[in-house]
């Protein structure tokens, strides 16, 4: 019933590979999901409301004061 320690380094390599796969699997899982509607709506709203970029907004803020 004793676990051999001799193959510990092999196990370690395996565990490292396992970690790599798990890490990537969890990530890819989300990566492959379709973009939720809330973000499509958000981008549409941003597009409607203001030009992207810093300066435009500053100008607007200054004007509105």
């Amino acid at each position: 019933m004793t676990q051999r320690k001799g193959d510990a380094s092999q196990l370690d390599t395996d565990v490292q590979a396992h970690i790599g796969r798990q890490l990537r699997a969890g990530y890819v899982d989300i990566l492959n999901q379709p973009v939720p509607d809330r973000f499509l709506e958000l981008l549409a709203e941003l597009d409607r409301r203001q030009d992207p970029g810093d300066r435009d907004e500053d100008v607007r803020q200054n004007r509105s004061r």
Binding site: H18, I19, L23, I30, A44, D54
Partner: protein
């Protein structure tokens, strides 16, 4: 010369899936992750003027998200001062007793890593940035990223090894360790 430039909206849209994947990996919670992504997109939109065309937009967006996440943690820490802190929530799930080393167990182990180690490991091992890019995103030296990744890997390995030692290799984990081809099988 004028290759019809993508609209900023489309440009950001392309990167939403990887931003979500990064945010979920960092925070371990999908709802919170989507809030982080939302804030990131709004910030990115406002600052698109400061993005240098031709440089890596994904890295730029990851940097913003990372900073949003850090401020979020700090805010939560201030709000939750009485308990063990932010990391107590959603983490305290014991490893499965059946020895089934599934993704949820792995995520728990990941969540218990120190923030900066988890971040480095995700940037390199999941998002597949170079060490140089990861260093820029995390705002530290390349060597620091390397050592954080190593420490993260060792900590996870130690924890998984421990579990393996206690329960023996269960068939599923054995299969996983036995070099099964990756799911995508793209070559």
């Amino acid at each position: 010369m004028t290759a019809a430039p993508q609209s900023p909206r489309d440009e950001l849209l392309v990167h939403i899936p990887s931003l979500r994947a990064f945010a979920v990996s960092l925070s371990g919670q999908i709802d919170r992750a989507d809030d982080l992504v939302q804030e990131t997109l709004v910030k990115a939109w406002r600052n698109l003027g400061s993005f240098t065309e031709g440089t890596n937009m994904r890295a730029w967006l990851f940097t913003i998200l990372r900073n949003v996440y850090i401020s979020d943690i700090r805010r939560r820490r201030r709000e939750v001062q009485d308990t063990d802190g932010v990391f107590a929530e959603g983490v305290a799930v014991a490893p499965a007793q059946n020895g089934h080393m599934d993704l949820a167990d792995f995520r728990n182990a990941l969540t218990e890593l120190p923030e900066e180690q988890r971040e480095a490991l995700i940037l390199i091992g999941a998002a597949e940035f170079s060490y140089e890019e990861a260093a820029e995103i995390a705002g530290c030296a390349v060597g620091t990223v390397k050592s954080r990744v190593n420490r993260a890997r060792n900590a996870l390995a130690k924890r998984l090894n421990l579990d393996v030692g206690e329960i023996g290799l269960d068939p599923e984990l054995r299969a996983a360790l036995g070099g099964m081809p990756a799911r995508s099988g793209s070559g």
